[in-house]
Symmetry: D2
Subunit: 447 residues, 4 copies
């Protein structure tokens, strides 16, 4: 909720859905919904329910004033109800907020905001996943040097790299969708969670309100049982972390010295006109970096006192809104990043050759082991790799010299195979197919 | 893994399952399993597989030496394989660790340890839930004053309180069980995740190994795709937070001034012989308090470089082991806490009467509103509550005086109802029934 | 920066000082300052410096537009400079941002905002400390039952409790003041931290700019050396945690069943007119609860790549602004809380008597040990405490009966002393004097 | 405290100093010290004090048994005192633990362990700093391409890079030393912090005990005032984060494609014999990565109830021990890393030339601006940089062609300067001198 920072840290849709006005509207949607189901249940006159629903528009409220007047009671609900009552005919005002407590309003509002803000988050994730699937297919066989601990290790394909990213994003989507569908529940419990005001009709009212607002019906009021909030926060943090993994790799593969990837719209610099910065990767990383601390804040807030917490509950809403914004921002920027990603297959091939064959030491050792025994083969390749690196010579040339001094004759075709990246890809391409197939089976969009 | 602190922070079973020896055994189980499935697939001689399996016993290894020698390569796998090779006949040694990379060993070992350690965690949670269900049923109608923001608010039942706890624990169990069942996957990818050593038979090997070890088969190797670790960590943190909520309430309700609950084996004090400390609640709180930061560490570690991370991956295992221990400790102590929990229903009733009726202000206002109008009723009750509190008089007496000055006559029976806690319980007892019924429908134990 | 939530989570002054406009103004203050010192050093024409300074007013900028246009380059500086250049005569525009890089602008702006926002934070902390000193003095001898693990333990004074809070607040103030004075440094390094554009005059420029802006001069540019940010974040988190400790105790001592404290302006409830909620304590707790995760985010962001980080740096500013707001909010509410705190010395005395003498078990045991030996004394008191608690009888009566069966005669005056809270206060009052004296020696206000 | 993991995550000295036995010894040191100062103050017979001191050796205790028996009371002090009493003559046993409470023992023990474990941590940091100072001096003028957002940006020297690291490490050392010297305080308060057992002699005893144990004397007992713990944790986290920044850069500069640095003892790989992994960087990163969450745990634990916390205090010791170990581990591995670091100045120079002059775009633009005006110069260089990059041509050649079409003549010497990295170093070498001079002024070792 900062004009300045929000474009960097949240997509425009999520920014709007988690803003002050959207939050107040969700509070008002609770009150309007409660009045409507109260009317259906015969507990509120139809006239009053209609009056209440008519008044429940956030644009009518002075948000800054609500904030200021909330301090005295530590809850936004008190001034919001006061303003709402003033807008209503006295007869109708008496039926407002029937049997509810302030936490019912705020928890349900938070759930509504989450439901609404998750739609664009999930849509951006779905788009990103689809782009990854296309990249994986396009580059199914594009040879790419795999790197472990930031050292070149052995060949794979860039499609396999994208397939790994895709599986991560699809798993994050599946979890986030499930939490959205199953865990965003209406809150209605009254002062101490018994719905005392409705006699024995409380559960009926809860069920009606859940249906009215499109939220799940909980087993019982969850005022101080915050597992669903924890699960949502965790799913958001996991999704953000998944995207940050992609951004990290894009930034690494975009390094001047690596140059295998470039962002379509590389960012400018205030001092260096020539630079093409990995701006989207930077933004994704910056968004995601802020999420683990917020998830921990939610988890640490789970122990809540008795029938309403004295502080940890009140900390939840702004933290969860921030999590929605940051994960939304990461997804928004990731969609853009992947949309414009430029892949330089020539450079990938060139980098694979940088070590002059040393990255094939493992398959070469396997070949030699078949002829010289494992111990000799290992020693010879390790020594040859060292020489090749030190003198900047092709590993194969160095090995040929060593092998010449041995009685065994190694068939050239075996060594050709060991030094051919295309024949050292193992299941890389099969894994692309599996990942894309699994992706195609997933339900789409925000479902 | 501290003789001194572990009894306080982990139950004995989880402590054993997450200890040094158990971890090394899980690493060895990977190697033995890989050799066995390699033999089944015809890639490893049966003799070698048998030799390898025979050698894979953690008791044969010098754990301190493994640790010391791991520093040079930053991985425990290098010295473990060195020791293992020394134990094997040369012909068999060559077939060890076929096509695998050190991360395959460590990730699979971690998954095995999680699978094993979660069994006692889930068993303790199941026992705790069962005890909560019994408490909820026993105290379905035990009148209890609900408290919000640590202030007395209105009547509920202690059974409803337990039902709320029960739903939280059962939800945490369900999530943890699901993650255990679906997300603990075998890791087998080889140097860069392509299983290059197996040609195109890699996926077959992964499937066989998953079956052999009782773990899930992933879509593809997940070396730097850590969503499953994040989900497990989150589920552990959520479970711990849920238990901490119960412990917090038990400690609050055990205060000298409240006295509604007491731990069966209240802890002694080194200086004050008379005290009965809520020792189990303290231990649960201490365990759970440490989990959110660890979950954040796991989430912050999700962005992992390329085909193997240079640091954040290596941080995962000890953190996840700690999370298992701490959540396990919380569950272990919670089971004990609930087993011995003493409920003082007389004191609960007494506390409900402390305010001399002021906690019934809400239903009393409702009654009066029907006769005096809402505005007058609200003002009268607020004023009377203030007087009653200030002069330590029963609210009903104060109200009777105020009402005497008004023309309206309020039927005594209506006020009797408003002041009778048993008739102000709303759906408290129904909610107990719902929670217990939902609990009875859950699969039991560690399933 | 939310109209709705900021009054709850930040005092009005800190809210203004950390808002969008204040941040942009600080960025502009950097540019104006740089131009001015450039002119003094003869590197920028006086005319250009004056033009630049004239243009540097945040009110002239469209903040939302800045935010939107920052996405492409992942930095607010690019659009800010573009807008600024448009406002300047071309001759002057060429002298803007002389030799600086975007990180110089943003880091220095952040330091300026911290400097400015810490003033009201420290002022509120100073006021709170002063109120604590007065409370400590007023209640230097007000007998109060000390509680450990939420159980009554032994007598102290409420003044000693306040003295403990005071020392905590004064220590947090001292640390925060020191960090503000010593660690808020100007940033000026140019593209890669060498100030290449200024030849060998770079250090001179840095010194001049530090003096111009009232910030510290660093040893060298600190683009990826974020220790000062970490220290500031930690000091803010420590201050917030200290205040949360006070809030927690106020809330506990305000419980209906305890009633020793009450907030002056206890918050109302939307459903329960009679309640006097500890609203300020709740707000302080809610603010402080959110700080540890943010401090962790700052610390986790310390490893920053090479000469400018690709994401973790960009995450810092919004997190640090949030930390300022939340700690500021905690301080603002704490000042209010302590200003209006109502202390019920009668209730304190009454609660001390709740256990009918059992809380004196420790000194009573000491007395008896002198006559019966330690073992017999301990056993007798433990047994008597149990009986007294179970049968709700005065401990002294129970003890008298037990002692009657023994040959030893215990002088009544010794037991009088053991059972007299005023004579069991140890150094409580001395500690009050020490804490207040230490407080009086501290420099005041925001110094 | 894991044989397996500790060598990876803590240096051997810190590991020993934070182990179970060291912790119990520190608890016993408290008891022995208290008896000694009690004797000096005339409150304990000299004989008893001598007996107690004689018994206080950790080797006499069964650590596992202490742990198991601590569960009942949730504190290790109860079984420790029980065992100790059994070792003492009855007359002396009665003088044990005089006037103290269990928290006094545990808090003071923790402070002693911190004091002791910080010595090797600070020594390793001092050694690392000294190595950085030498590297900075040796490479004061070694040309090195600065990189921002992982893109080549402009020239600096490797010495300047080391100087930046050095300042960070020295600042972290200074803070950690200050906290060690000023904030590690003895704890002695008795049951509720009043030292009731000593009458008015409490403060005297505290002062004596502080002197006896070599710890600071606090203003008053700090049972629930945990600022000093928070400051220590923060200082440890800041130190670890500083080291992780160095490790990150070493790993990045060691990439196969960059090759400017290598660890002296590059780690082997279980599958790839040729790899030289940045093993120490990985270990440092893995250690440091775990610290922010632990710092957050400590900060989140600051709100502690009344006169002794019911859970958050009990969580502190293991977390702080872990922080000591992990920061100690990072320092230990950093010392090794820097000791053996190999710098390839030839590769540094080679990488600087990778862009064929594009990294000099900024100074070149400055030169041209003096002749063509800023706008034309900027446009020409940007265009030329694009062409040079696209066609892999030297920027200067492309520019020469563009300049040939213009009437202005640019002196070759000006362009020579702009394209000469040695003349574009700005204050890089001066900054090295400043950092090393500041380092030489610091007190050494663990002071």
């Amino acid at each position: 909720m900062s004009e300045l920072f929000d474009p960097l840290q949240a997509g425009p849709d999520v920014s709007a859905q988690t803003g002050d006005r959207a939050f107040v509207q969700a509070m008002l949607d609770f009150e309007a919904g409660l009045a409507r189901v109260g009317a259906k249940a015969g507990l509120v006159p139809a006239r009053a329910a209609a009056d209440i629903a008519d008044a429940c528009w956030a644009d009518r409220f002075d948000l800054a004033s609500l904030g200021r007047r909330a301090v005295g009671s530590a809850t936004l609900v008190v001034p919001m109800l006061a303003d709402l009552r003033e807008m209503l005919p006295p007869d109708s005002a008496g039926h407002l907020h029937l049997g509810a407590t302030s936490q019912d309003v705020l928890d349900t509002a938070l759930m509504l905001v989450c439901w609404r803000a998750l739609r664009p988050v999930l849509a951006d994730l779905a788009t990103a996943a689809e782009q990854l699937a296309r990249l994986a297919e396009s580059h199914r066989s594009t040879v790419h040097i795999g790197r472990t601990l930031l050292q070149q290790a052995g060949p794979t394909t860039f499609g396999a790299v994208c397939a790994g990213w895709l599986v991560g994003v699809d798993e994050a989507r599946a979890t986030l969708s499930r939490v959205r569908r199953e865990r965003l529940a209406v809150q209605l419990g009254g002062a101490v969670g018994t719905l005392a005001r409705y006699g024995d009709r409380g559960p009926e009212l809860v069920g009606r309100l859940a249906a009215e607002l499109g939220l799940t019906e909980p087993v019982l009021p969850w005022h101080t049982s915050r597992g669903r909030i924890a699960e949502l926060a965790s799913a958001l943090g996991t999704a953000a972390g998944t995207l940050a993994g992609i951004a990290l790799d894009v930034a690494l593969l975009s390094q001047t010295e690596v140059g295998e990837l470039a962002e379509g719209s590389g960012g400018g610099s205030s001092a260096m006109p020539h630079k093409r910065n990995p701006a989207r990767s930077v933004l994704i990383t910056a968004c995601a970096h802020r999420t683990p601390g917020l998830v921990a804040t939610i988890l640490a807030g789970m122990p809540q006192e008795q029938q309403r917490a004295a502080g940890r509950w009140q900390a939840e809403a702004p933290v969860l809104l921030e999590l929605l914004r940051l994960t939304g921002g990461a997804a928004y920027h990731a969609r853009d990043l992947l949309h414009g990603l430029r892949v330089d297959a020539v450079r990938m091939r060139g980098n694979l050759e940088l070590t002059r064959g040393v990255v094939f030491a493992e398959p070469v050792t396997e070949v030699l082991a078949g002829h010289l025994g494992r111990a000799d083969a290992g020693a010879m390749v390790t020594e040859a790799a060292r020489t090749a690196t030190a003198h900047r010579r092709p590993l194969r040339d160095v090995l040929d010299e060593s092998l010449a001094a041995r009685p065994e004759r190694i068939p050239e075709t075996e060594l050709d195979t060991a030094f051919d990246p295309r024949r050292q890809l193992g299941a890389a391409e099969l894994f692309v197919d599996r990942a894309v197939a699994a992706h195609r089976r997933m339900p789409g969009g925000s479902e």
